[in-house]
Symmetry: C2
Subunit: 213 residues, 2 copies
């Protein structure tokens, strides 16, 4: 659990930030913030993976995004002054830094580079989500699985995909059983290889094809 006093600053996708922060370790499945709670600051992922998700009316999770090292999470609700509409939970051992709301908003006001970076980031995500919505609405589960795998290839940085079947299903937006059946198809088609829960990509070109990219 470190603490910085403006020396050097915290490292993010938007460059190093010059402010106070504190870091701590999160265990797998540990909650970063809950849907409905009020934001007290932003979180920057130092190391690890964090799923951002929402619960549907029947309690089923829908994973909206998986954030990796360098990404900041939890700042959107801070701007709206409303409680979190999504939750965040560590998918593996992670190290995450916290920056207080005041500090962050102050820096936003005085640092145009950070500010523009944030605006750009928000805009990019909006475009991504329009894409996501269109996929959800129009594609078959098979196609969505391929699409999701492309995202995960990036998230896991070309390492094997390592998620529970349930998380994977909740990202694709389907039932766990359906997901498993499709994974089997992919396996039989030589697109992936599976070792217990780890998924190795063998034919990315084919995945691109199926995803319709």
């Amino acid at each position: 659990m470190g603490n910085g006093d403006l020396k050097g600053g915290i490292i993010t996708n938007l460059g190093p930030l010059d402010l106070n922060w504190s870091c701590r370790a999160y265990k797998k499945h540990q909650v970063v913030f809950l849907e409905g709670s009020f934001p007290r600051g932003v979180y920057c992922i130092n190391q690890g993976l964090v799923k951002i998700y929402k619960r549907g009316d029947e309690g089923k999770e829908q994973i909206i995004h998986i954030a990796k090292a360098g990404e900041m999470v939890g700042f959107r609700a801070m701007f709206t002054e409303e409680p979190y509409k999504v939750a965040a939970e560590a998918l593996e051992e992670s190290n995450i830094c916290f920056i207080g709301k005041e500090d962050f908003l102050n820096l936003m006001d005085t640092n145009p580079v950070l500010r523009n970076g944030i605006i750009k980031e928000l805009s990019k995500e909006l475009a991504d989500r329009a894409d996501f919505i269109t996929n959800m609405a129009q594609k078959s589960v098979r196609e969505r699985l391929a699409f999701t795998m492309l995202i995960l290839i990036d998230v896991f940085d070309n390492e094997p995909i390592n998620l529970s079947r349930e998380d994977l299903a909740n990202f694709v937006g389907t039932a766990t059983e359906t997901l498993i059946r499709l994974l089997k198809d992919f396996k039989e088609e030589g697109i992936i290889e599976v070792q217990t829960r780890k998924i190795f990509i063998r034919d990315k070109k084919r995945i691109l094809q199926i995803a319709g990219k």
Copy 2:
């Protein structure tokens, strides 16, 4: 087609903006901007309705949002410096004002109220889209139709909903035929009344129920 010289300023959801603009009329189905083109500024809807949509791989439209008077559209891509990822088209006779990129970005830099309003707006929309994604992924078409109607009640400001069946289907994310069948169900259940293409809401409480709110 008016032209303003800083007198009074243009009126938006974020308050009046003090800058140069030019307005013009758009006919039904007229394009405001196309997916893939480069943003040259922002559009503010003076009067009318504009659908924001995206085409899926098979060319089917997915409506992401319907913007009404007072809303600004087309500024997200401006921040990312990438081409539009969505398209905008007038759903009815509309009057829309245009503000050049330079002017707008300059004002953003010097006007913290506008800037914070934009950031807040972007954040709100992100939350909305997380909701949208979850609905698409987890709800039945019937539930999604109810959810969509709630949005449209607001868009049409409690006037009857006046959209083509196809647009409605493309907003709900379903086939036109399925949508029509569900409208029939709603009609038989006394939830709505239909006059050619116009839909009158008769039992909003029930719609809320079905949407699961």
